[in-house]
Homo-oligomer: 419 residues x 2
């Protein structure tokens, strides 16, 4: 079963918009066991779009389009598909009703043009869109093939795909796929790959790595007759992965929405513990990352951004002679920041970060990428030294992740190691 | 002149990686006056890649590839191109030298495979890559057409394109294009479009809008014989845009690297003023956004994240009876937060934010999206009420932008209006 992604929009070809739809669709299709061999972007040009349809239908079973379902003359996605299939677009009453309802709901004026949003080929299966004004559709394309039209805005396309298209594709492919997502921090992609290489080459379950800055996520997917059999197939694989990777796994989840910050908030909530932050080079990013998790207000009382040296003294009581003696980027200052913040807010734990994010500011003994984390709880405090590399942005992102990871390990009562 | 973007990599088709290269290249090509009609992604499959080359060369003058220049058997980008062109890959001494140097520099072991990274067709113009181990190249493809091979990682592709490929393309197209970037905050895309519609339809200079959350950027580009003539052409257009949009323009820059945070740091640096933040719903994101700008340490002394109610009292001295009387999301508390933070750090100005980011926590009189900013300087303080909508993430992002904009206007001595 092969699918192909065809994104329509001149704004993509001008680079005005980042094509997150192609990644989202590819990732979800892959989790459904459907292969994607081509992603294509074309503009609002009928001839080139028709050509793209012909080619896609020639080599793939499923063609998923995004964009071009709006009411303007530039919105040609449906018309071009109909022409390639030799069919007419007709007004579909259920789609027309939806469009009217949506305009009422949004208190917007509907124009005659908007009726075109309710036009589909007579044999299309209309997908009502609760997230916008353009209905989507599954269009039969002969020889068992289909074209699936989805709206362009990700906030419409993503939920619509999950809620309406995935059930259809699951029935279409006739397979049950069960996935688990293994999240890893503290081991690079190459090392993970080396340890698991043979497991990645098995047929069922499959194992695919997804990497982001400092993190690796593995998706393990089993094809089976039902959910229960799928889990049985996954079980020995997950045991084996745990054995080979051990401690660096911080979560095994049922979907890919996990993150260090979620695991961190969960770990503190479970233990009814409160936390604070004292940040220099990250400038508030550790706290801001934590508050992305709904429910963070039960855990994070508040945080300090002590960017200039004197702020460390004014806000947290770090002795200015300690800063002078040890340097502002030092284990001693990191510990003092964490201790000061924890006491000021009377919370269970504090994490601090001080370091050189670059591009300037590095010295021989304290080069760009030198970062100290401080951890303090009601009984003890200590520092962790990090040696990071890359751009200013990467060093800050990695610092945030190390800080969150240190909090998780400390909450779970495991020691944090110096890297 | 038509270019086409061909990204190579199974990781893109699996959705493991977001294709930022396609956007980056499209945007830069558009600024060079080169049209892009197709973006294509194919995997590490020789047959499909060769087919993609044939098609691209059939319809475009310039084919830019990204990815697949590494040393493994999966890295087939150059080999497939050579086969389509009927040429051989040979070891290019200057490329070989570069690869060896890079391995020495990175303290990495070079294997026999790495020699393949120095192989190009004999007529290729090799582009040495200071940012990674894979050299790039411009490959003549007959009839005046070219294939340009670039490495996949954005941190290599982006600077290499700007430094090595753009000068080549400028000479190749023989035109001089001069651009100015107009940054707008506080007016929606539709409104900007309505006011400038007739200007966008002129031939030279061209005017293209680029939108992101809460912001619109316009790129005005003139094609001319030289830089001076280009600026002459742009001048009346910029005057007209200023006249029609007025106050919402916060910057007109020579490149597209501008941002609210840069303008904000610049405005404070210029006036030797210092600033602090007191954040509730944004959880540190205003401060973290400011410190993204190198030089922020001259302006931002520090910041407070007062997430729980009691933190507002403990950290900033907001009277707890004020919170009880007015509610934690109120103009009064916003002002008190800003005043408290400003005094504590003895800085020239403070901005605060308190609000309901959602998804939960809204009430009838204080629905999700209700946000109050507080502004305090050495003479006065006041609040700004915002009524935002969208997801938790969007509400926080918009709050940060409104806060930065309020700081800019206040530093420049202009009043901030309630929205």
């Amino acid at each position: 079963m092969v699918a192909e992604i065809l994104c329509v929009g001149t704004e993509l070809l001008m680079g005005q918009v980042l094509n997150t739809n192609a990644q989202f669709l590819s990732r979800r299709l892959s989790a459904l066991g459907i292969s994607v061999y081509h992603q294509t972007v074309v503009g609002d040009n009928e001839q080139r779009l028709e050509e793209a349809y012909r080619q896609a239908l020639g080599r793939s079973d499923i063609v998923i389009t995004s964009g071009g379902l709006g009411p303007t003359v530039d919105d040609i996605t449906k018309r071009a598909a109909a022409r390639v299939l030799g069919k007419e677009l007709v007004l579909r009453p259920e789609a027309d009703r939806m469009v009217r309802e949506r305009f009422l709901q949004y208190h917007k004026q509907m124009t005659e043009n908007n009726r075109s949003q309710a036009m589909f080929t007579g044999d299309s299966q209309v997908l009502l869109n609760p997230y916008g004004t353009a209905p989507a559709a599954i269009v039969p394309a002969g020889e068992g093939k289909v074209i699936i039209h989805l709206p362009g805005p990700p906030r419409e396309l993503e939920p619509l795909f999950v809620e309406a298209v995935e059930p259809y594709l699951r029935a279409y492919t006739g397979s049950v796929l069960v996935s688990r997502y293994i999240r890893i921090f503290g081991m690079g992609e190459a090392e993970v790959d080396m340890r698991l290489h043979d497991l990645e080459e098995r047929g069922n379950p499959t194992l695919s790595p997804y990497c982001s800055t400092g993190e690796v996520m593995l998706r393990a997917t089993a094809a089976a007759a039902d959910e229960k059999e799928g889990l049985e197939l996954l079980k020995p694989l997950l045991v084996e992965i745990r054995k080979r990777l051990g401690d660096v796994i911080y979560e095994i989840g049922e979907d890919d929405s996990g993150s260090l910050e979620k695991t961190c908030i969960d770990a503190f909530m479970k233990r009814h513990m409160t936390v604070t932050t004292a940040e220099s080079l990250t400038g508030g990013l550790i706290a801001a990352t934590l508050v992305e998790v709904p429910g963070a207000s039960n855990v994070l009382r508040g945080g300090y951004v002590t960017y200039q040296s004197e702020a460390k003294t004014m806000m947290l009581g770090v002795p200015s002679d300690l800063i002078e003696r040890c340097g502002v980027v030092s284990a001693e200052v990191a510990v003092s920041m964490a201790e000061g913040a924890r006491k000021k807010l009377d919370v269970d734990m504090a994490v601090s970060a001080t370091g050189v994010a670059g591009p300037g500011g590095g010295t021989e003994e304290c080069p760009v990428g030198t970062v100290f984390l401080g951890i303090a709880d009601r009984e003890k405090s200590y520092a962790v030294a990090l040696h990071l590399s890359g751009t200013r942005e990467r060093i800050r992102t990695l610092t945030v992740k190390h800080a969150l990871h240190a909090l998780i390990r400390e909450a779970e009562g495991r020691a944090v190691q110096n890297t």
